[in-house]
Structure formats: C-alpha cells, structure tokens
C-alpha cells in the first residue's frame, strides 16, 4: 500500500547563517540567527513571510509564537516541536508532510539554531536538561560523572569494539572522510584544515574510546527549510526536492541507554526499513547519505542499522574511501557535524537539497537522484528521510 505521505511534500527552500566559533556571528542572539536562516529559506522558496502557515521550531531554539511575531506570520495554523534532540529536524519533515497531506498547512517552516560554541560552558553546570532524558540521567547517571553525550555513546562504541573488533582506525576513517569533504566546502569551519589518520590518532582521548577528533564541532549558527505541498512544486523558484520516504523510531527503552536487551538497537533500526519501504527504494539506489555524525562511531552504527552492511561490518565499510566522494556511498558531502558545523543536523538536510538541485559545486555527487538524511538524538532516537529530485 502506498503511503499517503509519499511524494506529497517537497523542500522548496533552504537558508543558513554563517557558521562560527567566535567572532561577530557568535555574539548574535539565537533569535537573530534563527530569523536570518528562516528569512533566507522563505525567500529561497519564492515565498513571502506571510505565506508561511506552520512553524516547527527546535526544542533548543525560540518558540513558534516568537518566531511568527518577528516574521509577520499572521495566520499560524499549526505549530509543534519534536523532542528528539538531533533527530528532530528530520523528524519534522515527517510532521510537515503529515500537516500538508491532511490539509492543515501548506507552507511549513522548520528552523533550528544553536549557540553551541558560545553557551556550552554555562550549560555544563545544569546537568542534563533535555526533557525526555533528564529524569533518569540526573538520578542515575549524572551522580557518577556521566553528563555528556560523548560519554553516553562511547559506552556503546566500546561494547561494539569488544564484540566486533571495530578499531580506532575505523572511527578515524569517518573523521578523515568528513574532513576531506569539508575541503570542498568553503562554508565548513574545517575548510583549509586537512586531516590525516595520523593526526586523528594523535588527538587526545577525551571520553575513551572517543578522541577529540571523534567529536562533532561546537558552533554557533542557524539553518532552516521550507516544506510545501508537492502540487505547488511547479510554482517554486528552485528545483523541488520531494520527500519520498520518512520515518522516526526509538530504541527501547528510549530513556535509559544502559538497560536495553540489545545494546546496539537504535531508533534507525526500526525507522530505516519503514522509510525505505515507503519510498520504494533499495539501498543500492541511494546516491549519497547525510548521516548524523555527532561522533564518528555513530555514523558507523547508523550505516549498520540502516542495513548498508551487516551489524559488526560497519567499521570495514567506512574504510578504503567507500564513504568518500567517488566511493560507493558518499557520506556527509558537506563535511558533516564533524567538519562543517552543528545545527542540530539541519545542515544535513540543506546539503541533501543542494546535492539534489545539482548545486554541490566541487563536491557534487554526479547524477544524484536519490539521497538519504538521518537524524540521531538523545539516547539513540532516530529519524530518516529519503529525498529525490
């Protein structure tokens, strides 16, 4: 049965601010960053602010009401926030498609923003504040000194290394590939800073087994997209990018990362087969994948759980240039969270759109027709979208 969401919505506009780690852009308010990204996305879609009738803001950003008041969105028909951490932007594609398919809204603005670089040290004192996780983390993890995502996920990475023989060098292959792609992207914060596997191995261990260079960047910036009804695609200013498949999923239990029967189960384990079936797409048809690379191992784990290889084979999969441009499955052609910037993964969606518009420039995947984007959040919540041009 064809899903009523398949190809019913398209991404018509994308917008981003500069990405920074310090300097004037990092002095700006989160609201100011988010409004710039939103305004650019709306203009890119060929719309005016008043055409927007739904806003899906990030749990870490400013609320829809405030964004609407600043943008002059007078008739806000629908607003909702998805609480899945870094899985939220891709999950919002699902929410947007549902709102559009049932006629609740027509032009949906999805916007994220982060003062990640400039505000992190303040956040560190507050323990874990993310709503779905806070209770268990603060009562059972934080008192033992476990406060950060790098700690949560490295618990899984170490177990994977133990059970399957995944190596530091394989984690490093992810970091090197992302950095290589960033050299072709002048927006990337690691543009002009090449990285070898030797550099990676020489970087200090922060949360063993994770080294500094296993960790994503902490940056300031915002990114936004506008999703619109597929039947309006003909009016769009830009080549539309259609949402063919989308799904979200949770590991079980989602709120406790330690007590899962299958410690490697993540949201994508469940969501990926659903999204691929909805799109009617097989793995070999995917031209590129923008995978939420909060840490190197998470890219490997998602590749496995999506079924690009069997569980335990992800380490070998990312070696030998297979995930680099020109390889079998180019991953994070913009440099990812590891080497471009961290906008809660919205920059993975904007990059997928650029690739499917054919605007990838030096990093364009040749003849890209079908792309995949994932989100990862909290204790392994997952989201996935299959996009096509």
């Amino acid at each position: 049965m064809t899903s009523p969401l398949k190809d019913r919505a398209c991404i018509a506009g994308i917008g981003e601010t500069e990405y920074s780690r310090g300097g004037p852009n990092s002095e700006r308010s989160l609201l100011s960053l988010q409004l710039e990204a939103a305004t650019r996305a709306i203009a890119d879609a060929g719309l005016t602010n008043k055409d927007v009738d739904a806003i899906l803001p990030s749990q870490y950003g400013r609320p829809a009401e405030e964004l609407a008041a600043n943008l002059g969105v007078e008739e806000l028909r629908y607003a909702a926030t998805v609480f899945m951490g870094g899985a939220s932007p891709v999950a919002c594609l699902q929410t947007a498609a549902m709102a559009i398919a049932v006629g609740v809204a027509t032009n949906v603005l999805i916007v994220t923003g982060f003062n990640f670089y400039s505000s992190r040290r303040v956040q560190a004192l507050s323990g874990v504040s993310t709503a779905p996780l806070a209770w268990i983390a603060n009562d059972y993890y934080v008192p033992h000194g476990v406060v950060a995502p790098a700690q949560w996920y490295s618990l899984i990475a170490r177990r994977h290394m133990h059970e399957f023989g995944t190596t530091c060098e394989q984690l490093g292959a992810v970091a090197v590939a992302m950095r290589k792609h960033a050299q072709l992207n002048d927006r990337a914060l690691m543009h002009g800073k090449a990285l070898t596997l030797e550099d990676y191995l020489a970087s200090p261990i922060l949360f063993g087994p994770y080294r500094l260079l296993d960790c994503c960047l902490e940056t300031d910036g915002a990114a936004a997209i506008v999703v619109t009804a597929a039947e309006r695609a003909g009016d769009a200013r830009q080549k539309p990018v259609f949402l063919s498949g989308v799904a979200t999923g949770h590991p079980y239990p989602a709120d406790d990362i330690t007590n899962r029967k299958d410690i490697f189960e993540i949201g994508l384990t469940h969501a990926a087969p659903r999204a691929l079936a909805m799109a009617g797409v097989e793995h070999k048809e995917i031209d590129f994948a923008q995978i939420y690379d909060c840490f190197t191992f998470e890219a490997i784990q998602q590749i496995e759980e999506m079924g690009f290889c069997r569980r335990g084979e992800g380490g070998a999969f990312v070696e030998g240039g297979r995930i680099e441009l020109g390889g079998e499955l180019p991953v994070n052609t913009h440099g990812g969270l590891l080497s471009e910037a961290h906008t809660l993964g919205m920059n993975h969606i904007t990059e997928a759109v650029r690739q499917l518009r054919g605007e990838g420039g030096a990093r364009q995947v040749k003849d890209a027709r079908v792309g995949l984007v994932t989100g990862w959040g909290d204790f392994g919540d997952g989201s996935i979208a299959i996009l096509r041009n």
């Binding site: 603060n138 059972y140 008192p143 033992h144 000194g145 700690q151 922060l206 330690t258 007590n259």
Partner: protein
C-alpha cells in the same frame, strides 16, 4: 585559583519518588531493585509499571550485589567542574546477576585495568549525610 573558590558540589539524585526509594535502600547499604509482583521480572531503572506485564505492584528485592563489567567510558576531562579532581575516571555499566544493568564506578580499579566481564561486587559510598551511591569494587576471589 584555590580549591575552595572553585569547588562545586557534585550533583545528587532526587530523593523523591522511586529514586528516593532506590537511594533509601542504598542508605541502608542494601542494593535493591524492583521485582514485579505479577511476573517476577527484575527491573532497573525504577518504573511505576512492569514493562513486561503492566503490573503496578512490586517489591524491592535485595540484589546479590554481584555483576560483571559490561562496558565503560573514561573521562580525561570534566565537563561538570565538580569532577575536575577525579579525572581520569571511568563510568562503568555493570550487568548484575539479576540481569539488570547499573551505571556506576568501580572504585578500586584504575581505568586502564578495567576489562570486559570483570567480576565486581557492590559497595556503598555515603557522599552526603543524606545520599549514598551504589559503587562497585573488584571481586577478589572469583570462584571457578
């Protein structure tokens, strides 16, 4: 920079609700987990309902206190400043003989001596007059 000026108190668990009950037992130097009255399944972290059968009644049953190291992560720098004097330290997931897993630390084992499946047993650390945390130590004599 003096210690007294930079010292932050380590964050503590809430002593209300089910967490209060769990840590209340720890305060008596007893590691107890919920066990479902309906289906006898052990569970941790504490839950209001049994995820296996939906039963809302349970008893707090005493754990053997024995388990094995399931995985761990080694912090070489403190994100929370209260842990600055502890680095490097390992946070360890222990799989208990009852099947549940507990995130804690192995207090008598430096991070580089941890091994997978290492047998450990519970010990208790009163971190304030009100709060006692369950910790682990190496089991010295492992019966074959």
């Amino acid at each position: 920079m003096t210690m007294s000026e930079t010292k932050h108190a380590k964050p503590l668990p809430a002593l209300t609700g089910l967490a209060g009950e769990f840590y209340g037992w720890c305060g008596k130097n007893e590691l107890r987990f919920q066990r479902c009255t309906g289906c006898a399944a052990w569970r941790h972290v504490p839950r209001e309902l049994c995820p296996e059968c939906g039963t809302g009644e349970w008893s707090w049953e005493r754990s053997s206190g024995h388990g094995r190291v399931f995985t761990w992560t080694v912090a070489t720098r403190a994100i929370h400043p209260a842990f600055e004097h502890d680095v490097p330290y390992a946070a360890v997931v222990v799989e208990m003989d009852e099947g549940v897993r507990v995130l804690s630390q192995v207090v008598d084992c430096p991070p580089d001596e941890l091994t997978m499946d290492m047998p450990v047993e519970v010990t208790f650390e009163a971190v304030t007059p009100e709060v006692t945390l369950p910790k682990f130590r190496r089991k010295l004599c492992e019966k074959e």
